[in-house]
Symmetry: C2
Subunit: 236 residues, 2 copies
């Protein structure tokens, strides 16, 4: 009820068009096998699944909006917004990009696994090139569950500090891409970009690092181009 409090009439209209899925807890014990099966199915269908993770408030939704607007004329994209509660992100994506966007409610759960991701994918349209999962804001648990994604990406924002790869090793080690967001506020924080790259490389020497500012769009094109290349490779 209280959510209506901060929604304009325009937003309410968009909200009516956003599907909200209440995700059920998985009954499968072998998540790894489930994830591999899901990836194989996605390969057959030619759908690339990107799993985007980060801490709360590091800018996942803003980054997605900037990225989607850079690629949506070239490929068919849809987004699944996972959240414990609230629909604000799916609405925001729909408003700002016009693409298909659904909200997944995890009912308190701190991560998504492959079966939960599949429940979301089943609610998206056919014929997609790219499905993006915005995972629950959390640097710990989502790293432990393979969602079936083709690639894992994460965002570390400048205000969080360059030492995070030391403290959340698993997350950095499983991500193919690390976006360092909010570079516009670098002058106001003690964030050492070289050290950050060094610590990321300690956890995962193969990880690609893209410094970006989702709010201004700076650096987003490099990430968007990488994503387009990966999608093209997957579909071949």
């Amino acid at each position: 009820m209280q959510i209506i409090h901060y929604l304009s009439a325009r937003k309410l209209k968009i909200m009516e068009k956003v599907k909200v899925i209440e995700i059920k807890k998985s009954i499968f014990e072998e998540n790894g096998r489930e994830a591999d099966e899901l990836r194989a199915e996605l390969k057959k269908k030619g759908v690339f699944l990107l799993n985007l993770m980060s801490s709360p408030g590091s800018g996942k939704t803003t980054t997605l909006i900037a990225t989607i607007n850079a690629i949506k004329d070239k490929i068919k994209v849809a987004v699944m917004e996972a959240d414990i509660d609230s629909d604000v992100d799916a609405i925001k994506i729909k408003e700002a990009t016009g693409i298909e966007s659904i909200q997944l409610h995890t009912g308190g759960m701190c991560h998504l696994d492959a079966e939960m991701t599949r429940q979301g994918l089943d609610n998206l349209s056919e014929g997609l090139d790219l499905a993006i999962l915005e995972n629950v804001g959390n640097l710990v648990c989502p790293a432990e569950f393979d969602t079936g994604a083709v690639r894992n990406a994460m965002i570390l924002s400048v205000p969080e500090g360059h030492d995070k790869p030391l403290k959340y090793p698993l997350m950095f080690s499983i991500c193919d891409v690390v976006l360092i967001n909010k570079t516009d506020v670098l002058p106001y924080f003690d964030f050492d970009m070289d050290k950050c790259r060094e610590y990321i490389a300690m956890r995962n020497p193969a990880a690609k690092v893209f410094p970006i500012c989702a709010r201004t769009g700076e650096g987003v094109d490099s990430f968007a181009n990488w994503l387009l290349e990966e999608v093209a490779l997957w579909k071949n």
Copy 2:
């Protein structure tokens, strides 16, 4: 091994004095009962336990240093730093405050429960007035487990955004205190303090809210005074 890379000789000397405890997973199923028992024991001993939670990078350790330096001459304080991996926080606290500080390694676990907290408390000195637990950086899972603390506090930092009470309802509803940190960067972020207070009140009308800047010390005294009063009440 690689940790030595960024430690000075002085830090290494302090590191030798910091106890590192490898926390074992609890075997107790009824965490609520365990937590109540621990609280009763702490009441008998006159030890106040504060559980401090937040996202990664919101400034838990810096806030603790500023708070401890404001109260350490009045009461006897010790800190337990929980982390998945790394000892940097316990060392930082010890360096900056001189008080007893131990590191709890959770071995990948995303939260602490009452039994795990007890393992930490058992390794602290006798005669404490206040024991502070810095929980794992995570806005989801730690909220689900009563640690046995007398009070729960959390930090929301300005760069994370004022909408977080909408997205992480449980964390805000179980916290007695919300510290809004990094107020020095308010001019560079779209953070609405009034809305934030309103959203916090939606989740928990009784929560106390203290805007602070741990780096400059602004506002920390108000929180420190609240904490001193709470400790005095607990010991009566």
